[in-house]
């Protein structure tokens, strides 16, 4: 038999095999369609039952999987006492057991969903299972388990999370900021310690600072100010430190902001200008006017925006630039004033 003839036979074989598999899937879909219809009807019966806080006691029992899915959906839709009642009812119907089993599934998707849902159940077994999921082979499951534990107020120490999730090393998701935010609401000192520790990697430190900047803990401002002064001009953390200083809007962050208005890196100058406006550093007005002629649009825009936040003096500078400034400065000043409904 020639190779060419073999090619023909192989192609025929795999085409027929594909068609057979597809036929099998169509048959499975037909059978599954009946199951879906049955589940749809069971779902319709389940909802009022769960809303009424009853257990299933008559008719054909709904699959545990369906009970778990519907319960979790309902729990996520309500708050307060209603939620507590749903959780209690779902626990009685074995939903946490079902979710814990799903955390052993071979599918990472299943495990993520189960980890997120288990956050709703305060029992010890669920807590322990979520703790174990911090060592899951899939990073999405690990992060989901960490978030679930944090939301439920049962997360282990932040150092443990950093270590087990490889935060700042292989895991750089922005969800890290949300995770630290959750932890900061419950245990702010732990997140604060991360900022103070020189051995913590920049990515983690910046995320911790961003999580804390909304907390209004002004005692951190001098530290962030120092970090911003020490950071390399091309580091990813520097704009994040400066942004956090702007969020704090505290004058103790002014030194780093002032210094970075002259940064050789345009995105650092842009964030510094923005933060100067947020903090309201009046003595930067002259330098902000200079930045209105910067070669980069974002710097010009942020400088003009900052001047609008510096009160009458800032407005006066903008009006002057709109009238007499160099072309780029004139355009920036004129249009930013117009955008804010101020006449040039």
């Amino acid at each position: 038999m020639s190779v060419l003839f073999l090619l023909w036979l192989v192609s025929l074989g795999i085409a027929i095999a594909a068609l057979l598999v597809m036929t099998g899937l169509i048959v499975a879909r037909l059978l599954g369609g009946r199951r879906s219809a049955r589940e749809g009807s069971q779902r319709r019966q389940l909802i009022p039952m769960l809303l009424g806080g009853q257990s299933q006691d008559d008719g054909q029992p709904a699959p545990k999987r369906l009970i778990a899915d519907v319960s979790v959906e309902l729990i996520q839709m309500v708050r307060g006492e209603d939620r507590d009642a749903f959780v209690e009812n779902a626990t009685r119907m074995g939903v946490p057991d079902q979710l814990r089993k799903r955390l052993d599934s071979g599918s990472a998707r299943e495990r993520v969903v189960a980890a997120e849902a288990l956050a709703q159940f305060p029992d010890t077994a669920s807590h322990d299972r979520l703790l174990a999921a911090l060592d899951d082979r899939n990073p999405d499951v690990r992060l989901a388990a960490a978030m679930a534990l944090a939301v439920a107020g049962r997360a282990p120490g932040v150092r443990v999370l950093i270590d087990r999730l490889s935060l700042g090393i292989s895991e750089n998701s922005l969800i890290m900021i949300s995770l630290f935010g959750e932890l900061a609401r419950q245990r702010p000192l732990e997140i604060r310690e991360l900022v103070l520790d020189d051995d913590v990697v920049d990515g983690v430190k910046a995320a911790a600072i961003e999580a804390l900047s909304a907390s209004g803990d002004y005692s951190l401002v001098p530290l962030v100010n120092r970090l911003a002064l020490e950071a390399a001009q091309d580091s990813d953390a520097l704009p994040r430190y400066l942004r956090a200083l702007g969020e704090f809007a505290h004058p103790a962050g002014a030194e780093a902001v002032r210094a970075n208005l002259a940064s050789p890196t345009w995105w650092v100058r842009a964030v510094a200008a923005q933060s100067a406006g947020q903090i309201g550093i009046a003595d930067t007005a002259g330098r902000l006017v200079g930045l209105l002629s910067d070669h980069h649009w974002w710097v010009r825009f942020r400088a003009a925006e900052a001047l609008t936040k510096l009160g009458d003096a800032g407005h006066a500078h903008l009006r002057e630039q709109a009238e007499y400034g160099e072309q780029r400065a004139r355009e920036a000043a004129k249009l930013v004033l117009a955008e804010r409904g101020m006449t040039a």
Binding site: L4, W8, S11, A18, V21, M22, L25, S178, V336
Partner: protein, 472 residues
Amino acid sequence: MIDWQPWAVQSASIIALVVIVTGLIQTGFYVVQLVYAGIALGRRPPIAHASILWRRYGEQAPPIAVLAPAFNEEVTIVESVRSLLALHYPDFEVIVINDGSRDGTLARLIEYFGLAPVDRYHDMSVKHQAIRGLYSSPRIPRLLVIDKENGGKSDALNAGINVARAPLFCSIDADSLLESDALLRAVRPFVEEPKLTIAAGGTIRIANGSDIEAGRVLQVKLPRNFVALVQIVEYLRAFLMARLALGQMQALTVISGAFGLFRRDRAMEVGGYSHGTVGEDMELVIKLHRHMRDQKQPYRVEFIPEPVCWTEAPDDLTILGRQRARWQRGALETFFRHKDMLFNPRYGRIGFVGFGHILVVDVLGPIIEVLGYLLVPLLWALGLLAVDYLLAFIAVTFTLGIFVSVATLILEEIQLRRFPKARDLVTLTAVAVLENFGYRQLSNLWRIRGWWQFLRKQQGWGAMTRRGFQTS
């Protein structure tokens, strides 16, 4: 029976072997893509409800500017914009770019949304035709309309990039129907790998036949028209198999113009969309790859397997033929503009896998396959080729074609199950078989036409008549 000279038989065998080997390489590419697509689908995060996505990503989701270019869209523009404004996303702005429409597109927008001229300080780094005015309304702070001189889709998008202030922009077609949670889904790679991700594409599906209301696909249904049906199978192959796999390999070279999410600063660094090409979407992605590789910076261009956008497919062979010729021309323009990237170690997997794929599938594929249709049966009929050559040719063009299409359907059914009825699967399986007999050959002829237009340096899009979505 003619007694042919050995050189004639040998030449015929060589011709047939070139056709067969090229077909085999193409099929080999597809099989590898099927494996990678299967892996990518297995690894994708759960398809969550919008509320769960919001909870998961909402807090950290970066602002997005949705750029919607419009040219003579007077009839549908209000409905399209209303649908865009109803997207579920924490922080987004819809920027409609009226690209010098000659009808009442701008007037309709101004009248319906109560817009008034506004000033906005914006960047000018990316080149485009002059902006005539900006319009917005304090009642609808998410909407901004740019009125500009006509310059084509890429020019309109460039104006949108300049005016946008969000770190990410989403480029769409005027007739794209977005899933309400499309932005939440597509933003995932930007949240998970914020430093690395520079662009993300999403799966585009065909809306013909589906129930549509207020700019949303309510129920997925199959069209009755065969031309539209066959494109459903084609889109599955293109998105669910090829693009998903190339994304998984980090060798994606196209993000569809119907839906693409990009980092604005990176797009500006490469000068935005290019003018003078009909493949501006592919051109932008290639420019981004080249730029990042030249700068030796790590980056990722991702692909989202879940459907994020629906589009109207042509249901008429003439219009479809024009579209396919144009797509072919666009691919060739980009390939030859950047031909130095092909098999160039400097460009890594983009040079080898991405450009290798374009070379085999888009550049050489149609020519060699059409030559095969003409020559292999003829040479066999003349007695210059043994029947084994003919069978092997049929294997690479027909039976392996059926295998690849059906295998993509299997992937779809196992992983996504977006077609609600078993009857739909039967229809699509039949189409996956039938398309190889007639449609595939016609499609190759259209691509040859695209080659011809490319060689003649023909410009322009040709007429694209849209019927508009049939609302339920």
